[in-house]
């Protein structure tokens, strides 16, 4: 069932007839304030991060070259994993949103940036910046709901295929960069015959080129430099890619799928005003609490709500504006979903398991199955919390 847009418990601010518009005006004011303050500080921030990432990459690959020595392998794999996480999240994702276009630096132009992952940057810009950010959590339009392979909303009709939901989710998490790379292909629409393969030829060519370059670098060129010990850098590079995949999946799924985030139908979001659009962004997103280093590693997507309100403002500012956004949400009675990683992720895992089963079950035996799957989710959450 689709959760409707009607606001929860009324508060004085909300009883005003056009409260979404005044909420939107407040959000616009925050945006203007940030635009006015944007400057050298933000330029220095992103350059410093790029510097750290390039250092980690060079250091990681150098250590992995000598990966036959176990300490070098461990340190190298850790450094390269961090490098890929920074490159994809705090740098790549944010730069490609156009967050640093105002600097007029061609190397930081959202339209030109390319990142260290399988998905070609130009395809990402379409499926993510436009489809996902404009149509956030609209079932049928936002393809981030389940990435075409998972059931993440009651609104998606159940089929026996979804019994594998937890298995598909684990596979997606492990090979997330390829899941993202295939995102714009709309495989499920190809299968259903809605779109022809011929229409997607250009996309496939682009994905193939990028995947090939990435694989050549990580699985042929750098391992070859180690000669007979090629297996060590190869294993280190593969591990770094998987670590990045698992981390990115975790952060991204915690952004929209913990309990309490809402989905919308195409009908109820038609002819939306700017205020209503802002409102939907808050309702469809969830934040993660944590320290500054955690937020950087999460690409500041731990401020998913602020990111969805202001996707093209420098992400390093989300933390400071989150105070004002949360305060405004409280005044308007808009739920502001925030929690620590283990709780939000546990909630996502429970949802993945719950939606593996049909919504209406006739017998108690399936209730037992549900309980077991729910328990699995809680265990996973606890394990993660401890890690």
């Amino acid at each position: 069932m689709t959760t409707t847009l009607s606001p929860p418990t009324p508060t004085p601010a909300e009883t005003a007839p056009d409260w979404t518009e005044s909420f939107g005006a407040e959000m616009d004011a925050i945006r203007q304030r940030l635009l006015a303050e944007r400057g050298q500080h933000d330029a220095d921030y992103i350059r410093r991060l790029i510097r750290v990432q390039r250092g980690l990459e060079v250091g990681g690959r150098a250590l992995l070259w000598a990966g036959v020595l176990p300490p070098a392998w461990l340190a190298g794999t850790a450094a390269l994993s961090l490098s890929k996480i920074l490159d994809n999240m705090e740098i790549g994702h944010n730069v490609m949103h156009g967050q640093y276009d105002w600097m007029n630096d061609p190397k930081l132009s959202g339209k030109a940036f390319e990142w260290d992952t399988a998905c070609p940057a130009d395809q990402w810009r379409h499926s993510h910046n436009y489809m996902h950010h404009t149509h956030t959590n609209i079932v049928g339009k936002d393809r981030d709901i389940g990435y075409g392979i998972l059931r993440m909303s009651e609104e998606q009709p159940w089929s026996p295929y979804y019994l594998g939901n937890p298995v598909w989710a684990t596979l997606l998490a492990t090979f997330f960069e390829y899941g993202v790379a295939l995102h714009d292909l709309e495989v499920e629409r190809l299968q259903s015959g809605e779109v022809e393969l011929a229409e997607k030829r250009g996309l496939i060519e682009g994905i193939w080129q990028k995947v090939r370059r990435q694989a050549l670098k990580d699985y042929v060129l750098f391992p070859a430099l180690s000669g007979p010990f090629f297996a060590f850098p190869l294993a280190g590079n593969a591990t770094a890619n998987v670590v990045r995949n698992l981390w990115a999946f975790t952060i991204i799924f915690c952004g929209h799928f913990p309990e309490g985030t809402q989905e919308f139908s195409e009908e109820e979001t038609e002819n939306e005003t700017r205020g209503q659009w802002y409102h939907r962004q808050v309702l469809g997103s969830a934040n993660l609490s944590g320290g500054p280093l955690f937020h950087i590693l999460a690409g500041n997507l731990s401020f998913q709500i602020e990111h969805h309100l202001f996707p093209d403002l420098p992400a390093n500012r989300y933390a400071e504006i989150s105070v004002d956004v949360q305060e405004a949400c409280e005044r308007y009675g808009i739920p502001y979903n925030v929690g620590p990683l283990h709780r939000q992720f546990g909630s996502v895992v429970r949802k993945i398991c719950r939606l593996a089963l049909p919504d209406r079950l006739p017998s108690a035996s399936l209730g037992v199955a549900r309980g077991a799957l729910g328990g699995l989710g809680r265990t996973a959450g606890r394990l993660l919390g401890r890690a």
Partner: protein, 360 residues
């Protein structure tokens, strides 16, 4: 640059997707191979209003012809700003040779004042290759007349230094206009050249200090006869503020136009901007020009039949981001107005104020 040697392409495969430059510039910003940059090696405040910078370019720079301009890029408050400056040094094809630019403060000018206040040895600037048609032709003309005012002296200085370094016979004359001797850029060097080179004739006019120079007042026809060789046979190069150039153009009408070359210096802050719906929108790559309707540029591009990329149409997704080549625009969401050339703008939420060109 796409025509990289195979060895560099292999290195780029290792360094992908950021390329070798993405790592080299972390070591030293001048090491990059695909982008021209220069280090400031000397800073001299020639007059109160101007600063002369000696720049050492990296290997990507190919030099310039005397009289041409280069684009210089400087980061101010995180934003790269680009301006055109004419090098004043003699032309050279020697790779890595230093060049000299002189920047005159413009009232309210962001870049000129920033450079005058903050340029220091060691600072790295973006640098473009030599551009523009204004320059010393080859073979060199038999006699040369230079007319310059204000910072317009810089390309003329380059021509002068180039010719005088190689030639002690060819007659060269310079009509140099400045408000007073203190504000005459390159005065000391010009006076020294005039003393040591018999083939160079210098005529100084100080418009606010009558009697201090060789001539008085703004450019007038009476100044020309004193500048032998005769202006009708010499190749003439004029550069300076619009009023000076208008006066010069008036003199070279009536069949002498082909002997006159002019370069106009207009700081971008002073570019006229109009009201919405007043100017013309030029879509440079599509070679289409339309009268501005005042609507967002994306709408006007579509109405002109251009298949522009777009997404959200509300300023969120940056799919329609496109380079504004020139002109003034207003961001319809933020209300921000900008006249910066070569700037990325979001077509769906940008409207033109006067004439505007986008790379679409």
């Amino acid at each position: 640059m796409s025509s990289k040697p195979a060895s560099l392409r292999l290195l780029d495969a290792f360094a992908g997707p950021h390329g070798v430059d993405g790592f080299l510039e972390q070591v030293d910003p001048l090491l990059v191979t695909g982008e021209c940059r220069a280090e400031v090696v000397a800073v001299e405040h020639g007059t109160e209003e101007s600063v002369t910078l000696t720049l050492r370019p990296n290997r990507a720079w190919k030099g310039f012809r005397a009289g041409q301009f280069v684009q210089v890029e400087v980061e101010i408050d995180g934003v790269r700003q680009r301006r055109c400056y004419s090098p004043a040094s003699a032309e050279t094809e020697e790779p890595g040779a230093e060049l000299e630019i002189t920047v005159k403060r413009h009232p309210g000018g962001r870049v000129s004042n920033f450079l005058a206040d903050h340029a220091r040895p060691g600072m790295v600037l973006g640098l473009g290759q030599g551009e523009g048609e204004f320059g010393l032709p080859r073979p060199w003309p038999d006699s040369i007349l230079l007319i310059g005012g204000g910072s317009g002296i810089t390309p003329l200085m380059s021509i002068l230094r180039t010719v005088l370094a190689a030639d002690r016979e060819r007659p060269v004359a310079l009509l140099h206009y400045a408000p007073d001797p203190e504000r005459a850029i390159y005065r000391a060097e010009l006076e020294s050249l005039a003393r040591s080179r018999p083939n160079f004739r210098l005529l100084r006019s100080y418009t606010r200090a009558p009697g201090a120079g060789d001539l008085d007042g703004h450019f007038s026809p009476t100044h020309l006869p004193q500048a032998e060789p005769c202006f009708s046979t010499a190749e003439t190069f004029a550069c300076g503020p619009p009023a000076l150039l208008d006066a010069v153009r008036g003199m070279w009408a009536n069949g002498l136009e082909h002997r006159l070359r002019v370069e106009s210096f207009v700081p971008p802050e002073l570019l006229p901007s109009g009201e919405p719906g007043e100017g013309a929108i030029r879509f440079a790559e599509s070679e289409i020009e339309v009268a501005d309707s005042g609507a967002p540029l994306l709408v006007q591009a579509e109405e002109a039949g251009i298949a522009a990329e777009y997404g959200c149409r509300m300023g969120i997704c940056h799919t329609c981001t496109c380079r504004k080549v020139a002109g003034t625009h207003r961001n319809l969401v933020t209300g921000e107005v900008s006249s910066t050339a070569d700037e990325e703008i979001q077509l769906c939420v940008s409207a033109a104020l006067g004439d505007l060109t986008v790379a679409l």
